[in-house]
Symmetry: C2
Subunit: 404 residues, 2 copies
C-alpha cells in the first residue's frame, strides 16, 4: 500500500520569505525513499485557528501528517496546542520532560522561564519522540486511522527526530522506493534525454527523471524493484560514455579527489573569472589537503604572469581571455605549486564584454605530466551562473584526465 | 484594507524535494512589501483533481490567489485547466497568442508540436499577462470577489510576469509596508537583541525582527509608516556602533568594495581553510576588478611561505594556524600582489583538529599601509559553517579598517 502524506511547515518567517522551506524538500526526498507519496505540502504562520484548519484538511487528504516547526518555547509556538486540538485531546504536563528541561537549564546556568516549560506539555496519549540535539521533543499521535507527527523546525533537529519516524513509515508502506542515478557533465539535458530514450525502454512501475543544474545533468530511475533499475542505469551509463562522472551519491569534487588519490597525484589551480570558486569547491571535502595543494586567484591581468607564470609576451599577445593563456596558466601553476596537475580557468563572467570577448567566453585547461588540454566554452546565463558553470566545466575536464 | 493572499506552487518536483520552493519565499517578500499578507502557501503536484481542491480552498482562505508553475507546454502542465475549472469557465484558444507562438518557433527553426499550442489557451474572460522572457504568458481572472493569478514557474519568468501584478496589488491594498534594516557583524543575535531592546521602544504597528545567518545579524523594522521606522533604525544603528556595516539593501562585499574604491585602494587575499571562498565573494560584484587584485589559496602549509611570503622560521615556529602566521599572510600577500590591503584567514575547519588546535580555531588578519590587525576566533558549527563564518569575519575585519 502506498501511504499518502501531507507536510505542514509552521512559521511566519516562511510566509514572509525570510526563511526558505528547505524542510519540505528534505522530507519530500526522505518520504519518497521510504515509499510514502507526499500529496500536498503547506506553509502556515504562527496562527492557531488557521493551523487548526490546515491540520484538519491535511488529515482529510493523507494517511500521515507531518508537521514541522512551532514546537519551541516562545508564546508564538503553537503546534502543540493545534495538534492536541486536531486530535481532540487535552495537553498534559509530563513531569519527566519537565525534570529534563530543568536539569538542562541548570547545567548551562540559564534561567528557566515559564514559557520554556511548555516544551514539557504533551497531548494526551501522544508518544514523545526524543530530540537528541535540542530541547523540543517530537510528538506522535494517532488521530482515528491517521498518523500525526509533530517535528522540530531547525533542520538538524528535524533530521535527528525524524529518523525513527521514517523507519516506522518504511515498515508501514512496505513499498520502499529505490533510486539509481547517473551523473553527467558536458552534455545538455536534451542531448542526454535523446541518448537515454534511444537506449532504454522504461518499464511500467519505473519513473525516469532528468535533474539538471549547474552544468550537471542527472538521469534518475525510481521504482520499487531495484533489480529493474540497476540494468537501466548500467545501460544508460554505457551509452552516455565519458560524459558520466558518477553514480548515485557521488559528488564531482569527491570523484576528482578519489581519482587523484588513487594515482597519488595532486592538483593546483589558477583561476580568474571564478575568483576562488574552483579552489573552494576542491577544499569542501574533509581531507582534501591530501590532493589539493592550493590556488592562485589571478583576477588582475598582471598576476597571471607574476603569480601563475604565464609568459609576459604570450599574455601581451593573446590577452587574458584566450586558449593559449588558459594552457599557460595550467602549466604555470602546476610548476609553481609543485602539483601533478594544473587546472585553470579564464573568461568573461560579465555583465560587460572584455577586450572584444563576449560575456560567457570561457577557457578551461588542464596540464598534466604528459599533456595539456584546453576547452573553449560559450556559457549562457548571468555572471553568477557563468561562474558556477565554469567550476563544473573545470572539474569535469580534470576528471576526464584522472579517472581511468 | 489588508489583502490576504494564498500562494499555490504546482509541480511534482516540489513534493519530491528535487526543487526547493524559492518562488514562495520570493512572493512572500514581495507581497509583504506591497501590503499583502500571505496566510497560507501550498505546494501540490501535477495532479488536476488535487489542484482543483487546493484552489477551491485557497479561494476560501484569501482575497488573492497566486498560482505558480504548471503553465508550460507539456501534458503534465495542468494549471490552465485547473484555473478555468475553479472559475467555472471554459478554455478558449486565442488566435493572437497562437500566432505569436508559431512566429517564435519559426524564428528558432524549431518544430511546433500540438501540446505547445496549449500555451495559447486562455480561460474565458481572463486577462493575459505578457511574458517578456518566456513562452508561457500569465493569467488574471476574477472569481466572484476574489482575484486569481496564474504565473510561470521559472523564477526569472515569475519575476517578469509578476511585476505588474504586484503593482496592481499595491494599489488595491493601499497599505504598503515599508522596511528599514540594519546589518551587523561581530555580535551574536542575543547581544544585538539586548542592545536593540535597551535602545528603542517599538511602537504599535511596527514589527521588529532579527534575521541571523552566516555570521550576520540583521535588525528589521516593518510597518506602514516609514516616518516611524527611520528614527528607530537610526537609533539602533547608533547604539550598535561599529558592529553595523550597512543598511537596507547593502551587501557586505559591496560595502567593502565601495569603501576601497573611495580610498582608491585595493585588496589581495591569502586564505587557507576557506580555500578560495573569500576571493570568490570579493569577485561576485560586477566591476570588482577595480578593487580586488587576486588571492593566494595557500591550502598546503609550504605555500604559505612560497606563495604568500610567510617567513619559513616563523611558519616552522608558530605553525600554520596561529595569530602571527595570519598577520604574516596578510602583510606577505599585500606586498607580493601589490595591494593597498592584505587580508588573510587561517584555521581549522574540521572535522578533525589540527596540531592541537580544536575545530573552529580561526585567525583573520588585515595588513594596511600603516597597521596590522589580527583577530582570534572560536567558530561554531560544521566544516561548511566554519568556512562561511570565516568569510564574513574576514570581510568584516577589512570593512572596519576601510570604512570612515
Amino acid at each position: 500500500m502506498t501511504l499518502r502524506a501531507a507536510v505542514v511547515a509552521v512559521g511566519d518567517e516562511l510566509l514572509l520569505g525570510d526563511t526558505i522551506n528547505t524542510n519540505a524538500a528534505w522530507l519530500g526526498t526522505e518520504l519518497a525513499a521510504v515509499g510514502v507519496e507526499v500529496v500536498v505540502s503547506v506553509m502556515v504562520g504562527d496562527d492557531l485557528p488557521r493551523l487548526a484548519v490546515v491540520l484538519a484538511r491535511a488529515l482529510e487528504d493523507a494517511d500521515v501528517v507531518l508537521v514541522t516547526g512551532g514546537l519551541g518555547s516562545t508564546t508564538d509556538d503553537i503546534t502543540r496546542e493545534a495538534v492536541a486540538a486536531a486530535a481532540g485531546v487535552p495537553l498534559d504536563r509530563v513531569p519527566v520532560l519537565e525534570g529534563q528541561l530543568r536539569e538542562r537549564y541548570a547545567a548551562y546556568g540559564a534561567t528557566l522561564t515559564g514559557p520554556v516549560l511548555r516544551q514539557a506539555d504533551v497531548p494526551r496519549d501522544a508518544t514523545v519522540l526524543p530530540n537528541p540535539v535540542g530541547t523540543a521533543p517530537g510528538l506522535r499521535l494517532e488521530v482515528g486511522e491517521r498518523l500525526l507527527y509533530a517535528l522540530p523546525g531547525p533542520p538538524h533537529e528535524l533530521a535527528a527526530v525524524a529518523a525513527p519516524v521514517l523507519d516506522e513509515l518504511r515498515e508501514r508502506s512496505g513499498s520502499v522506493l529505490h533510486t539509481r542515478t547517473v551523473h553527467t557533465a558536458g552534455l545538455g539535458e536534451p542531448s542526454v534525454a535523446e541518448i537515454v530514450e534511444r537506449t532504454v525502454q522504461v518499464p511500467p512501475g519505473v519513473a525516469l527523471a532528468y535533474l539538471a543544474g549547474g552544468g550537471i545533468v542527472r538521469v534518475r530511475f525510481t521504482g520499487p524493484d531495484d533489480a529493474l533499475l540497476r540494468p537501466l542505469a548500467d545501460s544508460v551509463a554505457a551509452a552516455l560514455g565519458d560524459a558520466v562522472w558518477g553514480r548515485d551519491d557521488d559528488r564531482l569534487d569527491e570523484v576528482v579527489h578519489q581519482a587523484l588519490a588513487a594515482r597519488e597525484a595532486t592538483v593546483a589551480v589558477a583561476e580568474s573569472l571564478t575568483g576562488g570558486l574552483i579552489g573552494s569547491t576542491l577544499s569542501r571535502m574533509p581531507g582534501s589537503s591530501r590532493t589539493f595543494r592550493g590556488a592562485a586567484v589571478v583576477y588582475a591581468t598582471d598576476l597571471k604572469h607574476t603569480l601563475a607564470g604565464v609568459p609576459a609576451p604570450l599574455l601581451a599577445a593573446a590577452g587574458p581571455v584566450a586558449a593559449e593563456t588558459a594552457s599557460a596558466l595550467a602549466s604555470g601553476i602546476r610548476e609553481r605549486l609543485g602539483a601533478t596537475y594544473g587546472l585553470a580557468a579564464t573568461g568573461v563572467a560579465g555583465p560587460d564584454e572584455q577586450d572584444g570577448n563576449p560575456v560567457g567566453t570561457v577557457y578551461v585547461a588542464v596540464a598534466g605530466p604528459n599533456e595539456t588540454d584546453v576547452r573553449a566554452l560559450r556559457l549562457p546565463g548571468d555572471r553568477e551562473r557563468i561562474r558556477l558553470l565554469t567550476v563544473t566545466a573545470a572539474l569535469d575536464l580534470l576528471r576526464r584526465h584522472v579517472t581511468p
